[in-house]
């Protein structure tokens, strides 16, 4: 098991080897169209130990963490947790914050709830 | 072999298994090549209710460090009600051992069906780990019958 795969598995707690490749997660995913790698490919690439491909992809920022894939996966693989672990590995690297506090004013409007900012910083920055 | 890494203690564990469920479960774990420590030695009995509490005390007396008794799941006994007797008898035995100051974890009752090879192996692994962590059984060991200082046993600290 290579290092990155090991980290993803440990952080997510996901049992990627349980996947039977049915495609339920990708059938479910609301962000599917906006992703280059889809939930089932996340699981498959992690199982193969190909985490670099995912780290370099924009797909890690498209997951909504809506947990529909986690809920519906017949094998309890929890793809959303895999995506989250990969994204965290990406943003935890020095200077790799996807979203910086300075970017926020341009993205906000008067109605945007604070919750959105807090969540976005959690998801996209360290 | 399960060994306590710190003390080098190698526990002796006796497992009583009923012929119909848990012995078959142990066979299945073998057929599936599911590993568990070699400290565990199995004695086959027709039903878990055949196990007289005296057998368990005898095992402790002769130097066993842990005894596990496996039967069919409640309701699934080949002899209809045997494992219910076991459950009651073992509750009594355990509370007596408790009273005597014997660690509660040294005796265990588990229900393992003939189809649960994986559960059997897992149970044995965890039991062996627990016993290794507990250290040797001293309170119930009958020193008169201790033949020699067995290999791997930790000599008395005192």
């Amino acid at each position: 098991m290579n290092d990155l795969k090991d980290r993803v598995v440990r952080m997510s707690g996901s049992r990627v080897e349980r996947c039977m490749r049915c495609g339920k997660c990708s059938a479910t995913c609301p962000s599917y169209e906006d992703m280059e790698y889809h939930p089932h490919e996340f699981v498959y690439l992690v199982e193969r130990g190909d985490v670099e491909k995912l780290l370099a992809s924009e797909s890690i920022y498209k997951c909504l963490t809506c947990f529909a894939c986690v809920e519906r996966c017949p094998r309890g693989v929890e793809p959303a947790k895999v995506v989250e672990a990969v994204r965290l590995i990406a943003v935890r690297e020095q200077g790799k914050n996807r979203l910086k506090p300075d970017d926020l004013p341009a993205l906000t409007d008067a109605d945007l709830p604070g919750q959105a900012l807090a969540t976005a910083l959690r998801k996209y920055a360290k | 072999m399960q060994v306590n890494e710190q003390t080098g203690f190698v526990p002796t564990i006796v497992a009583f298994c009923c012929n119909w469920c848990s012995y078959a479960g142990a066979d299945l774990s073998g057929t599936n090549r599911l590993q568990y420590p070699a400290n565990v030695k199995i004695i086959r009995v027709p039903c878990s209710c055949r196990v007289n509490p005296m057998f368990i005390l005898r095992a402790f007396g002769r130097g066993a460090d842990g005894v596990i008794l496996c039967g069919c799941h409640p309701g699934d006994c080949h002899y209809t009600t045997g494992n219910y007797y076991t459950r009651r008898r073992m509750t009594l035995l355990c509370s007596m051992l408790d009273y005597l100051g014997i660690e509660r974890k040294r005796t265990r009752v588990e229900w393992v069906s003939a189809a649960e090879g994986a559960k059997f192996a897992k149970t044995m692994r965890s039991f062996a780990e627990e016993i290794a962590a507990l250290g040797p059984n001293r309170r119930l060991e009958d020193l008169r019958v201790r033949k020699s200082e067995p290999e791997g046993r930790v000599p008395d600290a005192e």
């Binding site: 909504l64 963490t65 809506c66 809920e71 709830p113 604070g114 919750q115 969540t119 976005a120 959690r122 | -």
Partner: protein
């Protein structure tokens, strides 16, 4: 009945109505929301990674306060509910988390998941009872077709939240019926609105909101109700099709006649 209340940040600024009407309607039903002193932001999102400890501590403090204030914490915002409930669940399934958190907090006494987290909707369903709600309604919303929007945060992961059936929930529909209105069943009610993606990729988020609102409109909803300020934002700001979206507490207050100049 008194119950510890965790309002959350958004309810203190952008979503004041959600907060105010929650307290007022609860008090009308004989239940007093007692705000947890010195609560901090829950973080808005629960990070599922096992090695994230620091980001969950604020939630743990709120939970520990809830334990000390009677054993329960009630929330109104979906996100706060989700974060608190998932954090609490972690104590029950992950001893390592328990150990690390308590090492950090050195709380006295240590916290081990003793509190329970309830959402105002489940409080209405399970304890106050929709019959009592119905009895209190003075201004029934007769003839209104209301689409309940659950989104993700109230429902999933269902194992940790134990809120309702994640695929076919009914608590909001029962709520709507209790107010004298007619619930609109539409299939997108448990799908994501686009969430925080609105900051990162507004176009992508728009697709989600559009799908939700279209589905509600197609089934003839007059307006939608939600418990989440971010859903509210996405559904009103991002969707091309416009139907009004209101907080469920707002609608509840209206039915109770607690709103000045109540509609109609």
């Amino acid at each position: 009945m008194k119950i510890a209340y965790y309002p959350g940040c958004t309810l203190k600024n952008r979503a004041r109505d959600l907060d105010r009407y929650a307290r007022e309607t609860a008090s009308a039903l004989g239940c007093e929301f007692e705000e947890i002193p010195l609560w901090q932001c829950c973080g808005g999102a629960y990070t599922s990674a096992k090695d994230e400890i620091a980001t969950k501590l604020a939630a743990v403090r709120a939970l520990a306060a809830g334990r000390d204030m009677g054993g329960r914490v009630v929330t109104v915002c979906s996100a706060c509910f989700n974060v608190l409930a998932q954090t609490n669940r972690e104590f029950l399934v992950n001893p390592d988390f328990d150990f690390k958190v308590n090492n950090y907090l050195k709380g006295d006494p240590a916290y081990h998941g003793e509190a329970s987290v309830v959402h105002y909707l489940t409080l209405l369903r399970d304890e106050i009872g929709f019959d009592a709600v119905k009895a209190r309604v003075t201004n029934p919303l007769k003839g209104k077709k209301i689409a309940a929007y659950y989104g993700c945060l109230l429902l999933r992961p269902s194992e940790a939240l134990a809120f309702d059936d994640p695929e076919d929930p009914s608590v909001m529909e029962d709520f709507i019926r209790a107010l004298g209105a007619e619930p609109v069943n539409y299939s997108m009610r448990n799908e994501c609105c686009g969430g925080y993606l609105t900051l990162e990729d507004r176009e992508a988020a728009k697709k989600r909101s559009n799908a939700v609102v279209r589905s509600a409109a197609e089934n003839g909803a007059d307006f939608m109700i939600t418990a989440c300020p971010l859903c509210m934002y996405n559904l009103t700001k991002n969707a091309d099709e416009k139907i009004p979206v209101r907080y469920f507490t707002d609608v509840l207050a209206e039915a109770f006649g607690l709103k000045e100049g109540a509609a109609e």
